[in-house]
C-alpha cells in the first residue's frame, strides 16, 4: 500500500484514506458507541466461555459414555424373540452360551476321568436288617477323602449317577430277632437303619433319589 501511495497521481487518494473528520459525517454519539463496545466485548467473552463449557461437557460425556458402551458391547446379548410363521415365539440362544457350556464341560471332564471313591462295602450277613442309603448328590468325596484327585474337581458339583444296590423297605417283612448293627461308624456314607433286609437274591436296584423319595413316602 505504501508503494501505491507513492504514486504521484494517487496523492489525493492517500489524503482521503487518512481523513479523520469529514464535515457532516461524524459519529453521532461517541459515548453511546463506547457503551455498545463494552457490551459487545462482554458478549464475546461470554460466548467464548459458553463454547468452552459446551466443549468441556461434550468431552466429559464422551469420556463417561464410551467405556460404558464398550462394556455393554462385551456382555452377551439377551436372547432375541422372533415371531415364527405360526405365531409361536421361538427363543434363540445367544452364541456365547456355547462357550459357557464348553467351560462347564472342561470342569466336568476330570470328574469323568477320576475314579470316585467307591461306596463303602458292607458285609451283610444273612437276615441282617441293613439298608444303605447314600445321601443326596451334593455330598461327594472331597479332596481330603482322595488327595490324589485333580484340584479342579473340588469345585465341580454334580450328582453321581451311580446306581447302588438298595432294598425296598416296604416289601420287607421284619424277621424275628433282628438287631441293629452298627458296623463302620467312621464312614459318613453309611447309614444303618433298624429295618429288615431282603435276602441278597431279592434285592432290587433303584437310583438313590428314587429310594430317598420312597423312603420319605413310607415314613409319612
Amino acid at each position: 500500500m505504501s508503494q501505491h501511495y507513492q504514486n504521484k497521481e494517487t496523492r489525493w487518494s492517500q489524503e482521503v484514506a487518512e481523513l479523520e473528520y469529514v464535515p457532516g459525517l461524524a459519529m453521532p454519539n461517541p459515548a453511546d458507541s463506547l457503551r455498545k463496545l463494552h457490551k459487545k466485548l462482554r458478549d464475546e467473552k461470554r460466548n467464548k466461555r459458553k463454547i468452552f463449557f459446551m466443549l468441556a461437557a461434550a468431552c466429559f460425556t464422551v469420556i463417561l459414555f464410551v467405556p460404558a458402551v464398550v462394556q455393554q458391547n462385551n456382555q452377551p446379548p439377551a436372547p432375541r424373540q422372533m415371531a415364527s410363521p405360526n405365531l409361536k415365539k421361538t427363543i434363540i440362544d445367544p452364541p456365547i452360551a456355547k462357550e459357557n457350556k464348553s467351560v462347564q464341560q472342561k470342569v466336568r471332564e476330570p470328574q469323568k476321568e477320576m475314579s470316585p471313591v467307591p461306596p463303602p462295602v458292607i458285609k451283610v450277613e444273612k437276615n441282617e436288617p441293613l439298608v444303605i442309603l447314600p445321601l443326596p448328590g451334593n455330598i461327594l468325596p472331597t479332596a481330603s477323602d482322595s488327595p490324589a484327585l485333580n484340584p479342579i474337581t473340588e469345585t465341580a458339583v454334580a450328582p453321581m449317577k451311580r446306581k447302588y444296590p438298595v432294598v425296598h423297605i416296604n416289601s420287607i417283612k421284619t424277621p424275628e430277632g433282628a438287631e441293629e448293627v452298627i458296623d463302620d461308624i467312621k464312614n459318613p456314607f453309611r447309614r444303618i437303619l433298624n429295618r429288615p433286609a431282603l435276602p441278597p437274591w431279592a434285592v432290587p436296584v433303584y437310583s438313590s433319589e428314587h429310594v430317598i423319595n420312597k423312603n420319605k413316602n413310607s415314613q409319612n
Binding site: L19, V22, A26, K40
Partner: protein, 184 residues
C-alpha cells in the same frame, strides 16, 4: 510511538486503555467504515465489530510503528464492512454501459479537497464505490478485491474503470457548478 504504550496496556488487560484507544481512533475508523457502508448505524455497528476484533486479537499483534498499527486496524475495519456487504449481498455489479466514455482528468481531482472527493465517492453506486475504495483508496489489488467480493479479477477491473469514468463525470459537473470555489 503514540500507540505503543496503549497497546501494551491493552495487552495486559487494562480496560481504560481500551477506552483511550477507542476515543483516539473511533472517528477515523468511522470515516473508513462510512466509505463502504452508507447507512450511519450500520457503519457504526461495523466499526464496533472491528474494534471488538482489534481488542480480542491485539495479543497477536507485534508493534513496529504507528502507521503499521493504523494500517492493521483499518484492514480489520474493511474486512468487517466486507462481511456485511457479502452477507446482505448488496454489492451490485452494474453493466459496463452505465457510465459514459469520459476521459480521466487528474488535474481536476487535485484541485479538490479530500473531504470533497470523499463526498463525491459516496455518491457513486455501491458496487462501483466498493471497488473504487478498495483499489484506489485502500490499495488492494484486483485479485484481493475479487476474493473479498466473490467476483472475478476482470470484473473488478471493469467496475473500477466504470467507477473512474462516473467519478470523472461528476467531477466535471462539480467543476462547472462550483468553478469560483475551486479556482480559489
Amino acid at each position: 510511538m503514540e500507540f505503543a504504550g496503549l497497546i501494551e496496556e491493552i495487552k495486559s488487560g487494562n480496560e481504560s486503555a481500551q477506552d483511550a484507544l477507542f476515543k483516539k481512533l473511533s472517528g477515523r475508523m468511522f470515516i473508513v467504515c462510512r466509505r463502504y457502508i452508507k447507512n450511519t448505524e450500520d457503519a457504526e455497528e461495523r466499526m464496533l465489530d472491528g474494534f471488538c476484533n482489534v481488542f480480542l486479537n491485539i495479543g497477536s499483534f507485534e508493534y513496529k510503528a504507528d502507521a503499521a498499527f493504523l494500517n492493521w486496524m483499518k484492514q480489520i475495519m474493511i474486512h468487517a464492512c466486507m462481511r456485511q456487504l457479502r452477507k446482505k449481498n448488496t454489492v451490485s455489479i452494474l453493466p459496463e454501459t452505465a457510465a459514459g466514455d469520459v476521459p480521466m482528468q487528474d488535474d481536476i481531482v487535485n484541485k479538490l479537497s479530500a473531504s470533497e472527493i470523499y463526498k463525491l465517492i459516496m455518491v457513486l453506486p455501491e458496487g462501483y464505490r466498493t471497488v473504487f475504495n478498495l483499489y484506489v483508496i485502500d490499495g488492494f489489488d484486483h485479485n484481493e478485491i475479487g476474493r473479498l467480493l466473490n467476483i472475478s479479477a476482470n470484473t473488478s477491473r471493469t467496475q473500477l474503470l466504470q467507477a473512474r469514468k462516473l467519478l470523472q463525470k461528476k467531477l466535471n459537473s462539480n467543476k462547472h457548478n462550483h468553478e469560483p470555489a475551486l479556482s480559489k
